[in-house]
Structures are given as C-alpha cells and as structure tokens.
Point group: C2
C-alpha cells in the first residue's frame, strides 16, 4: 500500500496534467462552492477556443460543515479541477491514468462510473456525466458540460473534479481524514480541523442573517454596475460573492423554498449576462486562443481498411457493438429496447433476410447479434404507377410524351410500360427491377441511421459541431468511443460520431480496457465472455441475486432486494462480484428509514435483515431494528483486491451513517414541537408567508376538514395534533440534509417524543401520494388545498410545462386519496374554507380555477385507470366535486355501457334530452293537461320512478330507475307529437321530458357519451 | 538561457520547498494583498510552534492596476510565499539555492539584499529584512518577522515572498510579462491581460464608493460578532475583507490622510484581537505542533576546538570578523563607528597593550584588526580601601575583627594590611596583586560583551528566546551567521548568538559564499582581498566614483554623485563593479524630478547629465532636459555575465519609467485646476472636512496674509493663484503613486498648464521647510497655520512623543521661513484670521495654546542656532509673536551680554526692576514731587531717553538709550531712599523706576538673564 499525503497528491496531479498539455492554474481568490465557479472554468468553457487547465480549488460549502466531527465531510474540501476542451477522445482513460499516477492500482479497487446529471442553477449550467466511485466512495465528478451561463457549449468541455480528501482517505485506506498527512509530517487535522469547527459554528450559529443579506444585495448591485460597464470578471466576482452569501443564508436556514427560486433567478440572470458579455468580448478579440488544428484533437481512429474484394455468398453472422462510456442504467435499458425493435425493422426495410436477432448491453457496450444475415438483398421488381392509361397511350397504342417522360424518369424503355388496373382505374405502370445489393455496402450506408435513431431522455453532445457541418449534431446518452461491426469475418467500416466500424472492442475497465480483436461475428459472444464480461443483464441480475442471498445467509440474514435496485445495480457493472460489508452495530439505533435510504439511494447497497423479519419491501420505510449491520454490495470486476474494496465501501457507509448520526443526534436535543418557531425563518412564499404561517393555516384547515371527511372523534384528535407538528421536521438537520426524509423524520421524532402512534403516522404520511390513515389523509389534504388556494391566488399557477411548486402533484394528491379512501367530499366547500385562511384574497374566480384544475387531474387519474374518455367526461360533467363519487359513477357507467342492451337504453334517454335541451325554460308539468294515454302513462311511470330511493350520484340507481321507463318512453314518442302547435300542450310534454332528463342530474352528462 | 514558464516555476518552487521540509499550502479563498495575510502565515507565525510552509498567493492590490499596460505592474500578481519557523540558520542560502532550482545561475546575475523594513499596519505587523534584487529588480521580499497582530514573535519566522512575474521576466530576459508562457503554450497575457484591464477599470473607475464603504462596515461588524464568539478564522476572514475593501476605496481615491489612520486603527485592533485569541486557543490546545527538538533546528556550528596548550608569548595580530546577513547601509556605518570607539575602549579596560586598531566593514562582515596585541595583561597591584585605621587596629596595632574580615574578603593576610592617608582620612588598605592573565581567555570572556554592546536604531531578534534563558535576548541589525576571531594563529572560541569564534569566513555571495579559512590574523586582509572583497568603504567609494565618471564620460556626460547615494551604494556591495545602463530617449520628456527620483530613490542609480549642465545636486529637483538617457549602476561581484545584469537593470528602470509615464500621461489629460473637485473625495480630517475644504481655507487665508507679509502686488497675485491650485496635485495619479512628489508634480503640471512661473514655483515650494519665494512662503504659512488652528481645535494637538499630523514640523515651518525671510509678523493676528476660517470653533484659549506651541518651536530653533537659553528666554518673554524680530533681538542681546561692561549694565537695569516688580500698582510720576537732585536728574534723563526714536523690538536701540542712564541710576540709588515713610514720595520714586523698567517693554524680559 502506498502511503500518500495531500500535498503529494496535488503535486502529482499538477505534474500529470501539465505533462498532458494542461495549463496549471490557481485557486480563485473568492469563496466558491466548486472549481466550476472559478473563471478558469466558468468563462473559458464558453466559445470555440480550446482550453486545457488543471488547478486546485479549496471549495467552500457552508452547509457541509460538521464541526470537524465527520471523517470526510467538511465545509471546506479540496478539489482538483481539470477542464479538457475539446474532448480529447479518451478523457476517462486519461483520468484513470491520473489515478495510477497518484498511486492507485485499478486492479485493487472498484472504480465505477455512476450516472450523474450535474446542474448548477446559480450559474445556469448543466452537463451529463458521472460520479466516479472508488470502492463505493464518490471521489470524482466527471462531466461533459452542455451548457454554462445559459450558453450552449460548442465544443463541449470535459470537467474532471477530484475530491482530494476522499482520494487521500482511499489511497491510505484510512478511516478519516484527520490523521492523514497533509505534508511535512503535519496531519490534515492539524492544519484544518479547528478551522472546520470554527467555520461550522460561524455558518450555522453566528453569521448574522440581516448583515449577510445586506452583503448579498450590495454584491448584486455591484455586479450590475460592473455589467453596465461591460466588466465581465469584476461582475462575475460579485456573482460568486452573491453565491457564497446565499450559501451562508442557506446554512443558517434563512431561505425558504420559494425564496430560493428568487435567489437562483437573480444569480442565474447575472451569470447569463456575464457569459454573454464574455462571449461578445472574445468574438471582438477574434478568439485569441483559436489557433490552427484545434479540431484535430479529436483523433480519428485509424482502422485497418479491410475493404473486401469479394463479398461472401453465404449467410453469415453479424455483430454490431457500440462501445460507450458508461451509460446510465435506465438509458441502457432504453437503448436495448429500441434496438430490439429497430434492428429487425431496419433489416426488413433493407430486405435482408436473417435469423435470430439478439440485443444485449452493459454499461460500456450495446451489442446486436444477428444470425445468418443474407449476403445480399434479393433482386426485386417494383411496380410504379404512371399516368392514366388513356393519357399514356395514343389511340394507336403509341406512348404519349407523358408516358415517355415517365418511363425515362424510372429508367425503363417506354415500350416496356404496361397497363394495369389499380386504385380503381387503369394506369400505365413501369416494372422497375432492382438488383439486390450486397449486404456490405448496404450496412455501411444504413448503420449510421440505426445509431442516430437511438433516442434518450437526456442526450449529450461531446463532439464539436464544426465536425458535422450540415449533417446535424451527433448526440447520445454518453460518448460513443468505438464501433465493432462484423459480417462474418468482414469488417463493416461504417462511419459515425467520428468513428469507423472495426473489429476491435475493449475489455473490462478493471483490466485497463484492453483492446480485443474480434475475428468473426460468430466468435463475438465467446470472446466477450472469455474476457469476463457478462453481456446479458438478466444473467447479471441472477448472479447478483444468487450471490447476495448466499452472503446474507452467511450472517443469518436475508437480502432485501428491491427489483428496481437490482436492475440498476446490474446495469452498473459488466462483471458483477458481490461481497458482504459490515458496519457498526451502534448505527442500528438510527431510524431504519435513514439506514435504508443511505444504503439503497446513496450507495446502491442491498440491506440485510433478520431472517425472521416479515417486512417486505413495501414496509421497509416503517419501523426499524429488523436490519442487520451488514450490506451486500456489487463490484465491477473480479475478486482481485476485494478486501480493499470491501474496506473502502465500509468506510463510506460508516461516514454516511456517522453523518446521519450527527444530524439525528443534533435534532434529538430538541423536541419536535420545539422546531416549530424556526419554521418562521423558512419562507414558503413571499406573499404567503413563512412555513410557520403555512403550518398554522394547515392546522386550522385540518380542523375544518374533520367533519367534511367524516373522521371519528379519536381520528380528529390525532389529525389536529399531527397538523400542529406537521412541518416541524423541515428545519431539522436531518431533513435539511436529506430532503427525501421529510415527513419520515417528523414521524420518527414524534415517536421518540412520545406522541400517539397515529399522530406520528399521520406526519409520516403527509408526503405520500395516498396516506394510509385517515388522520394522515386529513393533514395531507389540508396541506395540498392550502398550497393550491394560496399559490393560485399569488399568481403562481402552473403554466405550460412549468410547475415549479408541484401543483399538479398536489391536485392528484387530493383526488387519489379521496378515491382510495372512498370518502365523499365537496371540493368547492373545502376550497372555500382554505381560501378564507390565506393571507391574500382568493376570489371566487380563483377558487373556480382551482376546482377546474383539480378536476382536470381527476380526469387524468380516471383515464389512467383505463376508463373510456366519454364515460369519464359524462360523469365529470355532473359530479366533479366529489372524486370518490365520480369514480364510483364511472365504474358503474362503464359496466352499463358494456351491457348488450345499452344500445336500447341510451337512445331512450337521449330522445328525452335531445328534444328538450335547447329549451331555455323549464316547463312546469300539469298532470291534467296530458291528452294522450301514452303521455299519461309515461308521466305516472315517471312519478313512480321519482319516488324511488337513490344513493347520491349512483349511476346504478339512476339507470335502475330509468330503464323501466324505456318502454313508456318509446310508446310516448311513437304515439305522441311533442311539438304540437298548441303551445300549452307542447310545453307540458316538454316539461314531462325535462323531468325525465333531470333524473340524471348529479349523475352524469349522458350527452357526452358516444352514441348519444 | 533557460526559457521557463510561470507554472514550471511554481512546480519547481513547490518541489524545492517540499523537499526542504515545507508543507505546501494553497492560496487563500478571499482577496488578500499578500501571502502574509493568508492565515497560514498570519496565524501560524504566532506562538512557539514550528511551522514551515510554502504556497502560491495571487495577491490583489487594486492600487497597482495599470489597465494591463505596464510590463510588470498589475493589480494581481503572483507570490510564492515561504515561512520558515524557526529560522533554520541559513535561510538566505536556502533561498539562493531555490533560485538555482528554478534556473538562475547566481554567477550570471546580480543578486542583492537591499534593506527593507517591512511593516503592514493593517495587521499590526513588522519585521526587518530586505528586498532581494535581481539585476536591479525586486524579485523577493525577505523578512525576519518581529511582530504580527501586535504580538512579539518567538521564535521569529523567516518570510520569503517571491514575486513570480518578475522572476519569470528575469529568467527569460524578457521585456514584459505578457508574452511569456504561463504554461501549455499559453502566454501570461492570454490568461490575464484582459482581466487586468477590467479590474483596473473596476477599481479606479467603477467601484461604488458608498457600497464598498457599506461592505467594509458590514465586514467589520461581522468580524466583531465572530470575535465575540471566539471564532478566530471567521473573524480574520472578515478582517481580510475589510482590508480588501479599504484597498478598493483607496484606489478610488476616497480615503483621506487622517481617515486612513482611522481605518488602519480599526483593522489593526481587530487583527490584534484575532492574534490574541488564536494564541489563547493554541495554549489551551497545548501547542499541538510543539514536538520534541524543534529548537535543534538552529544548528550549532561545529568548530574545531583548537584550545591552545600554550599561549603565545609575543604580541600578535588580532582579527575579529562578525559575519552577518546583509546589513543596511546606515547600520553598517553605525557599527563601524561604534567599534572604532569600543574596541580601543575595551582593550584599555582589559589592560591589553596593542598597536593600531582598524575597523572595516562590508554589508556581510564587520572586521576589527588590531596590530601587536599583547599576549597577556600586565601584572597589577590595586590598593583597596578598607575600614578607617582606628576601627581597623586596636591600640596595640592588632587587627580588629573588622580588619580581619576585610583582609579575607580581599584575599590577603590581615598582617599585610597597611595604613594609608587617603580621601582625607587614614584607612586600612589591602594591596591586592592581580596577576595579568593571558589574552586568550580574557578575549573569550570579553568579546561577547563587545558584540552585545553594538546598538542599532532598529534591532532584530532571529533566535528563539528559549535558547538564551536568563542571558537576555540576542539582537542585532541582521542575523549574525559566523564569527572569526584569531589571535595570531590561535582561534579565540568565544560564544555569541549560538556561534563560536573560529577561523572560517565566507566569500562573496556571487561565488556562492564559499567557506574560507584564515590561517592567521595577519593574513586576514590579504585573504579577504584575494577573494575579491573590498573591505574598506572608502576604497569602494573611490572605485565606484572613478568607474562611474569614466562610464559617464564615455557617453559625453557627467555623473551626478550625491554623496549620500555614493555612500549607500558603497555599503550595498562587497565588490563593486559599475556599468552603464541606457534607457529610451523618449522618457526624457518626463519631468526630471520624476526620473531622478526613480533612479536615485528606487534604483540607487547615478544619473548622467549633460557635460555642460551647470546643475548641481541642490538643483536636481528643478527643471529637466539636462539629463542623458543613461545611468550608472553598481553590481556586487565581478564582470561575469555583466551584459545580462545590465539588461535586467535596464528592464527595471524602463518599467519604472513606463509606470511614471502612465501616471503623468493620465494626469496630463486634465488641467491641474480640473483636479480640484476630486479633492472633495479626499478627507483631511473628519471635523475639518475634505482637502478641498482645506484648500479653500488656504486660499482665503493666503489672501489675508498678503498684507501681513508685506507682499508686493505681483507677489500677491501669484500667491493667491498658487493657493487656489495648491493641493490639486494630491489627487493626481503620479502623486498618489509617489507621495514624495507632492508639490513637485503640482509645480510641473502648473508649468505645463501655462501658469506663471512664480505660481508654479510657489506650489512646488509648499512642502519645503523654507520656501525660497515670498508667494511660496505665503501659501506654506497659510497651509501650516490652517493645520495648527484646525487640528488643535479638533483636539488633535500633539501629545508626548506622538505627533501624527506633523504639527511640530508645521510650527517650525512657520517660524523658520519668517526668520530666514526676515519678515516681521504677528503670529496671534494671523492665527486669529486662520481660526475664523475653521469649520469648528477655535476658542481664544486654543489660539493661545497654538501660539504657545509655535513659540516653543521658536525657542528650539533659537537654541539650535546656538544662542544661550537665558538670552532666548529673555527675548521670548517680551517678543514671541514675531519670530524674525525675536531672532534679531536675540542676536543683539547676545552681543550685549558678551560685552565686558555688561556686568555694569545689567545691574543698573536690575536695580530698577527688582525694587518695583512686586508693586501691584503703576504709579504716576509727578515731576514736582521729586525732592532730591539725584531723582530730579534721573527723571530728566529718563524724559530725554523716552524721546529717543527706537526701532520696535530692537535690543540695541533700547540699550543705547538705557546705558546713558546708568550713571544717573547709580547716583539715584546711592542718594535717594526710595522706600521712605512718606508714601506719596515713595510712590513717586517707584513710579520713576517703573518708567525706567518699562523702557524694555516689548524688547526683552531681562529678569530671565543670568546675573540679573
């Protein structure tokens, strides 16, 4: 084992990157959260000029302060930042070489590229790439920048951000940073630990919110003044200072959710102007660094130009391998799915016969294997329709000029035109014969389209646009780095993304990605397998699961295997090797949710629980103490150095648990109720006040909802208490750290405070789409109604695809639970109550808009349940205020519509409605004014029907009342002329029909049904 | 020639210092003016813990911005900072090795250590050391820190601050930084030049003074909040931010002279509290870095312990060489002077006979050479007085116990006591024989005292106090690094400052300071000479002057040789080699004062002027165009690589002139008058307003002074115009840059604006102790009177030794010119006028205090002119308001006092005064009431005398009138009884004498004369 020091690592990285053509820069002179903020990155990645730089950046993140108590989390950590612009073509390999330069043996460790879509809203920047994990620890952020300062980047820059403390810990196999050497025999702790303590104290406890806000404002204004003078760097300095002061305010818990947006908006806007102005300046200066040949940095791969002199005459196996940098797990699934459809489609389109098509994939390769691909297309004759026969041939049968022109355009002789009957007429047609072409050139031409056709949710650019002028940009999930394409033994040298199809693939990363030649397509699978790569995701899943179960059994536990986690993990490796890791038993006193969240979400570990535990995945979020102090993790590669990998992973999870322990410990110094006042410092929305204000509104609204939701007395007590404590955990340290634990921590802390279990449960359920308990339902509804009423009134309703406050989710969160709990409810009434509590006026018009909005979601929910749109619309036309009732009605109506006799029922009702629906007046029925027996009979049937007892909104009840009327209705329309000239008679008859129609009031608007 | 890059230099320095046991740190995350401000220096140099660190520090000095136009001056420059704590004993040698590590060959360059007493008031720090010059360019600041944050340092830290841009320029022999490589083929200019432009624009033109002031205030308050919580580093961060915002305000010209003091006071106070708190914390933490043996870092020199078995019996030469790091020029002079006195004194005290004593010195050694030093002291017998004879011996002559005790204490037998007459009595005495000791041990014992006895204006510590417990600290001008002490061939191994006398000296720095053994004292001079060292300053001066004259003649010019510059230059080298440097002719268009200032003051070059020029040194400040574009500089070492040295020096002076050119060019864009409004932004003193306010007061006061100074009409016009423009140049860029050019630049710009020559001259003279012209006198007096009146009224009168506003100088600047111009004046009247113009009330009492204060200075001036105190006091007792008159009077009175008949004159007057001075009333004389002839006669003589015409204040006139009265006065006192019982007669006689006494009114208070 090497034993290194921080300064040695820095010196080595500086030398490595200097030797690889990087300028070595210096940390920036104002506090930044990351090396990205340094103008050497932020400004220089803009525009066309090449730029390669490396520098240290001590990065300040007030939020991450741990008073020097966490082994590897601190408000200041040391980054080494590298920018490679343009992409040199092999940045991941360069990066791994740099790890070797500082002393890592890749064979001894598990180096993984885990999807990470980086974005930094304060500077309007985003990119795609990975966290790079070393033995489970994120040691580097690796990103292909796509946009910075709101500007699309071309060329794209590769950003490599090393976390030096974590690297040092890993390199020295240490438990914490503090005792590791900085340099000159002095430890990191001796240099920085007390500083960490003081800065944490400053950021969390001492910083004066008012003064820091004033600083922010001054910086903002000064940035504007600089921008007005076109001074880019001074302006940017102040944007950075804004960002740092914002971070201080955030650490102080002084920034509310919506206020945060405003801050980001201000910073983003200024960052954008800085970037724009910089770009203008560089253009004026004619891009001083844009020297000759900068494009040649993307080296074209030299391929053996095996251009076959003859093409095989026999069907042969075909293999296509798209070699990529590590694909995100879901993108890998998606690409495999697309290829499974697109490859057969393409072959069919190309008229190429073939045997089985198989598609496999690992994070680093997509493989298509086609059996027995035909050596060439068959010859074909296509009939092409020309002018009509009489226009094509003279009376003498001689082709007219129109026919001659057509023939020529199709490459046939006019005399060869034939006449055929087609499309209901007679036409001149040309028989265009097409000789089948060899498969080789056909594939060379068509494979680029196959690759271009693969689409991802998020795609990235990595090549300079200038390389593809006129051909459109190449985008993919992650960069494509090699292409294998073999038909039998023959290379198909198609070109894509600056690469050419060849026969050389790459082996496993832990083996240093050796180049491997594939001799022939049908050897592919064997060669890949021989090189340790498990190509099939199902096989990888099986391997992981089997090994995991065995490992869990070895400690008398059972593995918790959430399927989506298994799939993800299987998609993160090419060769899975599972191992068992342990952590200190003490950590089991942490809430189970916290432990599981950390293991699953952060680390992609499988938890291990007691054999006896009846918990299943669904209940993992509840309770604790069924866990064992073990986890199963999966490493990419073989078992070489597995002990080290295990130790590394254990270190990471220990640090994470220690961190959680810190937060929970801090939080438990107070009762949950004691957190409430601090909610006052957390802004919900400027016009709507703080989270404390919101919490108080929720409390009142919950009280009002109790009767509307028909809660029992004890439920009402629980609901009110839960509402009182509802948002308190938002200012707990654990939730500030891991927002996903909101509610969950509230539940946990409420329990530990001795609150009633139902109260804790209700708090815990508030963010769930459908709370299970009725107190939980009450508080969740109150929360969501408050948000909708308030934010709509504040002018913040969703627009287009923008829904920054998640109001669509809130609306669904109202209808779904009401449906599942089958509670009848009146949305308008509830909303009116909520509206009255808001600090801003919520007009009737706004209330209607909100109801409309919720109904819109209800419609979506119903559609997603599989109901027909017309049925849904019919019901919602009459009972949209009560989601539970609406579902009942839709379900019933659906059954009716499916009945064979529906075609007789609906018309019966429709007749009554159609003839009356344009009447403006509601006519009174005078039983004595009926003349015809048919109308008398109908009226008496109606009266009987009207007396029948019906459940409100019940379609069944309505139709069971209505169906018996149908014979009378039909008789009525057969015998009686409604629109007689005697107006009083006419109106009496219309009145009768109106009363029949209105039997459906509050049930459905049957007029919206198909066939009405 | 090596061709290096910035990043290579940085990497090399990091490696060099890492290899020499330094921790490698990082730049600080907030803007600092220097690496010293980084806590890795500021905090870590405090207290006893060892600390060795090296780091880059991009240092921000807004003031130094040049819009990217100067070749080596920028608002941001790159320092490499090294701290060595404690002093390793050879830091200068380590430093020179580091220069070799980055590619310098010391033989090819002129590396010089030029005194620099560093201080940084914002952090209450100071130290002694040098600028290190490479070919005339300051490339490094080298300091032994003595105090930081107001705390005395123990151990002392060595601070080495490399200026990397200048080093790169020198290393590449470049003309400017811009085209030199930063790294990766990219130039420094490409990385930073546009940034320089923008930041300069921001700092000089854009930064909003109000906002930046607000930032300063917020930082200050936040620093206090942190200190209140004991958070040292966060507090210090804000102190640094204060410092940076202060620097911005300063660059904007928004900070007045007195306001500056207030800012510094605030920052200093907080820096001090930071330092104190840090020290307390470290003590509480028990000094974690204080590991064993840290003291052993000061390595004791191993000396050959030649302890002679026998001592020479013959007189032998003696040499003492004190080897030091480069002494400041004036300290070198002072040490030589002291040794010239102290060495003979010591030898006498030691009773050592000797021949000639010679003392020589160079910056690196002080040498004492004694001819024929006796091998041992002579034997001596001292007579020691004991008890009186009658107490010592009984009547029987037997020694009493007292005598026995005395004898024993002196080491003699009681029987050997003798009785002697001495001191007017008879005493028992002991004859104490003292055998002469060999010179060797005597010198071992006494040489430490000789060294300790050398005192300097500023002394430094460099050794940890713990090494000298109980023995007091070792201090010296600069560290002592070796000691040579030889008596004949014998080493005198005395110990001092951790060193032991030996025979090994060191050669020239350019030759890498080789160790050289001195075989015997009488070989010393020859060996030193042979090694190229010119030991005698007079010889060095002669060499420099002769070579310089020759070089000047070679370009048909003559050398300007200010004697003090010659002496200084001669004291900066051990082996002077002069060379001629050139600069662009264009620069001669700059004001001559500027050129000369730069050459003499900054660069220690000798200007070269036209052969014909009649200018002498005194007139160098006036006019221009007599200079030639050459200079003579002196290098330490031989002529090896002299071309490179010359080029380097030329580069430096070119950059300096370019800088001056920049300032003057910027200034000349405006008329001098146009600067006036900006004086409003320059605070003079809070209560007294801006410099613009002051200038306006001066203008009014000048107008009022015109008649009081009896100016001619044209002089009055010039004075008023000069007053109008008087302070305008204070806001010119050139003066902001080089304060010493204040007034001089005003004169220059006034001339260029076409103002009358007398106006320009008056502006130029305002800061001279005695302006030559009368308009100059008028404005200078107005300025000084205004300062005195205003600042006294504002409660800022000097106290004790504190005189921050230079009011003593101002007062002298009032009396001296009035004396030299011999202008009669009324201080009180002038002050009353000045007082009326002040914005604060200047009470009569305050005015009296000011007059008192000015008179105090006048007394000092008169004393320094050599007049006797009693004469001065006598005159000032009567005419202190008019300095010119007072001097005349003193001069006359002095002549009278020197007259042989003075002893008859003074008593005559004294008799009249003495008898009347206690009378409270002034009696009226009634000529008819006289009775005796003697009194009648005296009265008539008096009446005649009173009628004589006398010049005001003239002592001569008074005495010439008075002396004739003396016979009558004597007759009067002989014949007349003044104090007769008849009160009316008595009062008439007293009245007569009172009238005689008052003849001296306004002349002098003769009562203050000796012999009165």
């Amino acid at each position: 084992m090497p034993h290194s020091s921080l300064q040695t690592i820095i010196l080595q990285l500086q030398e490595f990157w200097a030797a690889h053509g990087c300028l070595i820069g210096q940390p920036y002179y104002t506090q930044v959260g990351a090396g990205t903020m340094n103008p050497a990155t932020f400004l220089r990645v803009l525009g066309p000029e090449p730029w390669n730089v490396g520098y240290v950046e001590p990065s300040i993140r007030p939020d991450d302060g741990r008073y020097g108590e966490n082994p590897n989390r601190f408000q200041q950590h040391t980054q080494f930042q590298v920018i490679l612009k343009p992409d040199p073509g092999n940045p991941v390999e360069l990066y791994i070489q740099s790890l070797e330069a500082i002393g890592f043996d890749p064979r001894q460790h598990d180096i993984r590229l885990v999807e990470d879509n980086w974005e930094q809203p304060a500077i309007s920047a985003w990119g795609l790439g990975w966290e790079i994990w070393l033995d489970g620890q994120e040691i580097t952020q690796f990103t292909y920048f796509q946009q910075v300062g709101g500007q699309s980047l071309d060329p794209v820059s590769v950003e490599i951000t090393y976390g030096l403390e974590r690297i040092l810990i890993a390199l020295n196999n240490a438990a914490a940073i503090w005792d590791e050497t900085w340099g000159a025999g002095i430890t990191y702790g001796e240099v920085r630990r007390h500083d960490e303590f003081e800065q944490s104290k400053y950021y969390f406890d001492t910083a004066d919110v008012t003064r820091v806000r004033q600083m922010y404002e001054l910086y903002k204004t000064e940035a504007d003044a600089c921008l007005a003078q076109g001074l880019v760097v001074p302006a940017f300095d102040y944007v950075l200072k804004c960002s740092h002061t914002f971070n201080i305010l955030d650490a102080r818990g002084a920034i509310g959710v919506t206020e945060r947006q405003a801050f980001f908006g201000q910073m983003r806007e200024r960052a954008r102007r800085v970037a724009e102005t910089w770009l203008e300046q560089r253009q004026e200066q004619e891009y001083p660094l844009l020297k000759e040949n900068q494009e040649s940095q993307v080296k074209d791969r030299v391929v053996s130009s095996e251009s076959p002199s003859t093409f095989s005459l026999k069907p042969a196996g075909f293999v296509l391998e798209i070699g990529v940098e590590e694909l995100p797990a879901s993108d890998l699934d998606s690409a495999i799915g697309q290829l499974k459809v697109n490859v057969p489609g393409l072959l069919e389109e190309l008229h190429l016969e073939h045997g089985d098509v198989k598609v496999f994939g690992t994070p680093r390769r997509l493989a298509v294997i086609v059996d027995s691909l035909a050596p060439r297309q068959p010859d074909r004759a296509d009939i092409v329709k020309g002018p009509s026969a009489d226009r094509a041939f003279g009376p003498d049968g001689v082709p007219t000029p129109a026919a001659i022109g057509f023939a020529r355009s199709k490459g046939v002789q006019p005399k060869d035109l034939e006449v055929r009957e087609m499309d209901g007429g007679r036409y001149a047609v040309a028989l265009v014969k097409q000789a089948g072409r060899p498969t080789y050139p056909v594939l060379v031409e068509s494979l680029p389209g196959l690759l271009a056709g693969i689409k991802f949710d998020k795609s990235m650019r990595w090549l300079p646009a200038s390389r593809f002028e006129g051909n459109g940009e190449v985008v993919f999930s992650r960069p494509i780095r090699w292409l294998v394409a073999l038909l039998g033994e023959t290379v198909i040298p198609f070109e894509y993304a600056g690469l050419t199809g060849g026969r050389t693939t790459r082996g496993l990363r832990p083996y240093n990605s050796p180049e491997i030649d594939i001799s022939a397509a049908d050897k592919y699978l064997k060669i890949i397998q021989k090189n340790g790569i498990v190509l099939d995701v199902e096989e990888r899943k099986n391997l992981i699961e089997a090994a995991g179960r065995e490992l869990a059994a070895s400690v008398k536990g059972q593995l918790v295997i959430p399927p989506e986690l298994l799939r993800e993990v299987a998609n993160l490796v090419e060769k899975p090797t599972s191992f068992l890791g342990n952590f200190e038993h003490d950590f089991l006193s942490l809430p189970k949710d916290v432990l599981v969240s950390v293991m699953k979400k952060h680390q992609r570990y499988f938890p291990v629980e007691l054999l006896a535990a009846e918990d299943n995945e669904a209940s993992m979020g509840v309770g604790r103490s069924t866990l064992l102090p073990h986890f199963v993790a999966v490493r990419n590669g073989d078992s070489h150095g597995l002990d080290l990998v295990k130790q590394g992973n254990e270190h990471v999870v220990r640090a994470r648990f220690a961190d959680a322990n810190f937060f929970v410990g801090e939080d438990l110094k107070h009762k949950l109720e004691d957190f409430l006042p601090r909610l006052g410092t957390l802004m919900f929305q400027k016009k709507l006040g703080s989270m404390l204000d919101k919490n108080e509104r929720i409390e009142k609204l919950t009280k009002a909802l109790v009767p509307m939701l028909h809660l029992e007395a004890d439920e009402a007590v629980f609901a009110r208490r839960a509402a009182h404590l509802l948002k308190a955990d938002l200012v707990s340290k654990m939730v500030i750290e891991m927002t996903s634990l909101q509610g969950i921590m509230g539940r946990e802390y409420a329990r530990r405070d001795g609150e009633a279990p139902a109260v804790a449960e209700a708090i815990g359920e508030q963010y769930q789409p459908v709370p299970k308990t009725r107190p939980g339902l009450a508080v969740a509804l109150a929360d969501r109604l408050d948000s909708l009423a308030g934010l709509f009134a504040a002018g913040l309703a969703p627009t287009g695809t923008k829904d920054p406050f998640g109001l669509r989710r809130a609306a669904i969160g109202i209808v779904q639970p009401l449906i599942e709990h089958e509670i009848d409810f009146n949305l308008s009434a509830a909303l009116e109550t909520a509206a009255a509590l808001e600090p801003v006026p919520v007009t009737n018009q706004v209330q209607s808009l909100v109801v409309e909005f919720i109904t819109g979601r209800l419609r979506v929910v119903l559609m997603e349940l599989g109901f027909k749109y017309d049925v849904v619309d019919a019901v919602l036309g009459a009972q949209r205020e009560n989601p539970a009732g609406a579902v009942r009605a839709v379900r019933q109506l659906t059954a009716w519509v499916a009945r064979p006799d529906w075609s007789t029922i609906l018309p019966g009702y429709a007749r009554c409605v159609r003839i009356t629906r344009d009447q403006e007046n509601k006519f009174k029925v005078d039983r004595n004014a009926f003349i015809e027996p048919a109308e008398k009979q109908l009226f008496s049937a109606l009266e009987k029907a009207e007396k029948r007892k019906r459940a409100p909104g019940s379609v069944d009840d309505f139709l069971e009342v209505f169906v018996p009327l149908i014979p009378a209705i039909n008789e009525f329309f057969d015998k009686v002329l409604v629109m007689t000239e005697d107006m009083s008679v006419q109106e009496n008859r219309l009145g009768l029909l109106q009363r029949i129609s209105s039997l459906a009031d509050g049930i459905a608007d049957f007029g919206k049904l198909e066939g009405f």
